[in-house]
């Protein structure tokens, strides 16, 4: 089931309630059990996500190299806090615990592209290039 939920999450960028209800009927598993799983794992979100995802790595290696400041910069540039989505549904800002690119740190990932230790200007440029 986790694998199916991952597919739904990938296609919709979140788990819409109708999809969960349909899954529950098809598998014969109560929705509360599905939600039990969906709320436990970080990969699932129960609210719609923005078209562009911006995630800041807060892994240890990034942390010691200044990830908290990078997160602040991203927050300033997007005007949303971590875990939030902008009202125009354009961006979602999230934090992750380690992307395994520690040599690059601190890392920010915008729509699957990695940027190592970007300056405030660079972040603004990357964000502006998203439409």
């Amino acid at each position: 089931m986790i694998q199916m939920l991952l597919e739904i999450q990938r296609d919709n960028r979140w788990l819409p309630k109708p999809a969960v209800v349909r899954l529950s009927k098809r598998l014969g598993i109560p929705t509360n059990q599905i939600y039990h799983i969906a709320t436990f794992y970080k990969a699932f979100s129960l609210t719609p996500q923005g078209r562009h995802s911006v995630s800041v790595c807060l892994g240890t290696a990034c942390h010691v190299r200044g990830a908290p400041r990078l997160l602040e910069r991203a927050t300033d540039a997007l005007h949303i806090g971590p875990g939030e989505t902008s009202t125009d549904m354009k961006f979602t800002l999230s934090t992750v615990n380690c992307l395994g690119c520690c040599a690059l740190g601190p890392v920010i990932v915008v729509d699957g592209k990695y940027y190592g230790n970007p300056s405030a200007k660079e972040i603004e440029r990357v964000i502006a290039s998203c439409d």
Binding site: Y41, K42, A61, L104, G105
Partner: protein, 641 residues
């Protein structure tokens, strides 16, 4: 692709691949690894393919997209075989020159060679200090393999060890060899692998499972990702050998979904192995059946714990359960299940192929073989390093890592991820193995090694780990759920300058409870970051509590930024960059930070040109009164704007 029906078929395919290659020169580019891709290695790879085509050299040379080559921060890395010429930070525009000079001629492109600390250029990969001190027996093949090609792996003799195990050894002999090799789990626990295999083998029940734990959740460790991305067949071969030894016909690979490239390369590897008949029914005509399913983890640190991982594979919430019966006896669907880490599985074929004696000749008395570490943080050379067990921390950090960045002072090295501890300078000469690290209050863990310098606050680091663990604790048992939370509260208080006398004792007391009473390893090891920092850096805790001072200048509530009037040259950079407009001043006028407006983001310190170095972090002392507004700066000679 033809199905291989015997070891002879496998040898035949290998000969075929080798003869097709002939004398070709191979150009390895780390374009199949996440780090490489982040640095644009794929463009360099494409440029090589196009340039070789353009110059009509397809018979003489071939570009190969390999996985991680270890020295990530110098990506894109290009290694030319068999000459072993190594170029760093190659740009697509450099490619025509490399092809014309180095591939066609015998010339080197000097500017792309590695430059050592003294400015000397080094040509060969094996001579570069970062690589010279390593022994890359598990990780080294990455540079010779395109992970998307099973033929590359077979050309290196891949799967011949599987053939050896299936046709020349009994399952008991395989288990016995691994036991004699004294291989210990690379995931962190260090449990003897052979013993675990034996337990599962002897456990009652027909159906048994073997599992690869690739839920590499430790922040700061990424060797499993690099192995799966760069050499997935080595893990698979180990897994099949293990399955044969244990008597299992079904396997699982649990990979974090945060590693999309590893999942992609694994899927390709599985399909290729199936087509060749190296997975599935009647493997290599031996009569042994085995197949593997990939399970993507959905992001939960605790699910890397063995029993939690198994419940996750069952499709449930990945929480650990009490292990009165070991998972080796009762795991997935209460059947015997043997779980090992990626690195452990990848080591198995080497042991079976070269023998237990060879393996035990490497390492220390209690820990054999090599271990891959991710050497990251404030060192000059960051990357993945594989060293024999027993090498000292100092050798790893200074000889391989090249010491601390920007000539700063070493403060601590953190090993073992959130379950490990921080070790000070005085312990740098201990040999790194499972037992030694545990003795000093840290642990091997999965091999993260995060180096910290004088600018890192140890209380803040302890707080960071506890915040991570508090978020990742599944909440099933109370000591872990509540204990970590309370410890985090205390640490937050200390970092915010509200620390009370007795807080350190309270932390130690809570640590004991959490350590002794938690259900799984997440809880029992959670106090390690706190206890080790108290043990070795107690003075920093005391400075925070008693003097309201953060010696490293990290904890925001305890620091202030200050522009030294005698150094400020009124260049207006900080004035423009300050995000909250807290800096006053102007052309030729001294810049002053308004402490009430300042959010302590540190931008001014970062942008102040190093030749002025006017911005200071003050902690535990009052900020000197600002000079009257409009004071003109005194120009230092030679720094006129």
């Amino acid at each position: 692709m033809a199905r291989l029906r015997s070891p002879a078929d496998l040898a035949g395919i290998r000969q075929q691949v080798l003869s097709q290659r002939g004398e070709k020169r191979y150009i390895a580019i780390n374009a199949s690894g996440t780090c490489g891709l982040a640095y644009g290695s794929d463009q360099v790879f494409q440029a090589f393919v196009a340039e070789i085509e353009r110059q009509g050299l397809t018979e003489q040379a071939c570009a190969r997209a390999t996985g991680c080559l270890g020295f990530c921060e110098n990506s894109p890395i290009v290694i030319i075989f068999p000459d072993d010429i190594c170029y760093f930070r190659v740009k697509p525009s450099d490619v025509p020159e490399i092809v014309s000079k180095t591939i066609l001629g015998k010339e080197l492109v000097n500017r792309l060679l590695y430059k050592d600390g003294k400015g000397k250029r080094i040509v060969h990969e094996g001579k570069i200090p970062f690589y010279k001190h390593q022994s890359r027996i598990v990780f080294g093949n990455n540079r010779l393999i395109d992970p998307k090609s099973i033929d590359d792996y077979i050309a290196l003799g891949g799967y011949s060890t599987l053939a050896k195990a299936l046709f020349e050894m009994s399952p008991e002999e395989v288990v016995e060899t691994v036991k004699r090799a004294n291989l210990r789990g690379r995931g962190g626990g260090g449990f003897p692998t052979g013993k675990k295999w034996e337990t599962t083998r002897n456990a009652p029940g027909e159906t048994k499972y073997v599992i690869v734990n690739a839920d590499e959740g430790d922040p700061g460790a990424y060797m499993d990702r690099s192995l799966l991305e760069g050499n997935p067949h080595s893990v698979l071969e180990g897994l099949v050998i293990g399955a044969y030894a244990i008597g299992s016909h079904e396997g699982y690979i649990y990979v974090r979904q945060e590693y999309p490239l590893a999942i992609e390369n694994l899927f390709i590897a599985l399909n290729q192995a199936r087509e060749y008949g190296l997975l599935g029914k009647n493997i290599l005509g031996s009569g042994f059946n085995f197949d593997v399913t990939i399970h993507r983890g959905a992001g939960a640190f605790v699910s890397g714990e063995s029993s939690a991982l198994m419940t996750a594979i069952e499709g449930k919430v990945g929480e650990p359960r009490p292990k009165y019966t070991r998972t080796a006896v009762s795991g997935i669907w209460e059947r015997p299940s043997n779980l090992n880490n990626v690195e452990t599985w990848a080591t198995v074929p080497l042991i079976i192929s070269k023998g237990a004696d060879w393996f035990t000749s490497i390492g220390t008395a209690g820990s054999k073989g090599t271990k891959i570490f991710s050497l990251v943080g404030k060192v000059n050379n960051t990357g993945l390093v594989e060293v024999p067990m027993g090498m000292t921390l100092r050798e790893i950090i200074y000889d391989i890592g090249g010491g601390i960045r920007y000539g700063k002072e070493f403060k601590a090295v953190q090993t073992g991820g959130p379950s490990g501890g921080c070790l000070p300078e005085s312990l740098l000469d201990i040999p790194v193995d499972f037992d030694e690290l545990t003795k000093v209050g840290s642990m091997m863990g999965s091999g993260g090694m995060i180096v910290m310098d004088e600018d890192n606050c140890m209380v803040d680091v302890a707080r960071y780990f506890l915040a991570f663990l508090a978020e990742e604790s599944c909440g099933k048992c109370i000591p872990c759920r509540e204990g970590i939370k309370q410890m985090l509260n205390i640490l937050n208080r200390i970092c915010d300058g509200q620390g009370r006398t007795g807080d350190i004792d309270l932390l130690e007391e809570l640590s004991e409870v959490v350590r002794d009473a938690s259900l799984c390893a997440l809880g029992t090891t959670a106090p390690n970051p706190v206890l080790s920092t108290i043990r070795y850096f107690r003075d920093e805790y005391e400075a925070h509590i008693k003097e309201r001072r953060c010696p490293a200048g990290v904890c925001k509530a305890l620091i202030s930024y200050y522009i030294q009037p005698e150094r400020c040259q009124a260049c207006q950079i900080c004035l423009r960059e300050c995000p909250v407009g807290a800096i006053t001043g102007g052309k030729n006028l001294l810049h002053v930070i308004d402490q009430d407006k300042c959010t302590k983001c540190g931008t001014c310190l970062e942008v102040c040109p190093p030749r002025f170095a006017a911005v200071l972090i003050l902690s535990g002392e009052p900020v000197p009164a600002a000079p009257p507004q409009g004071t003109k700066v005194e120009r230092t000679k030679g720094t006129q704007q």
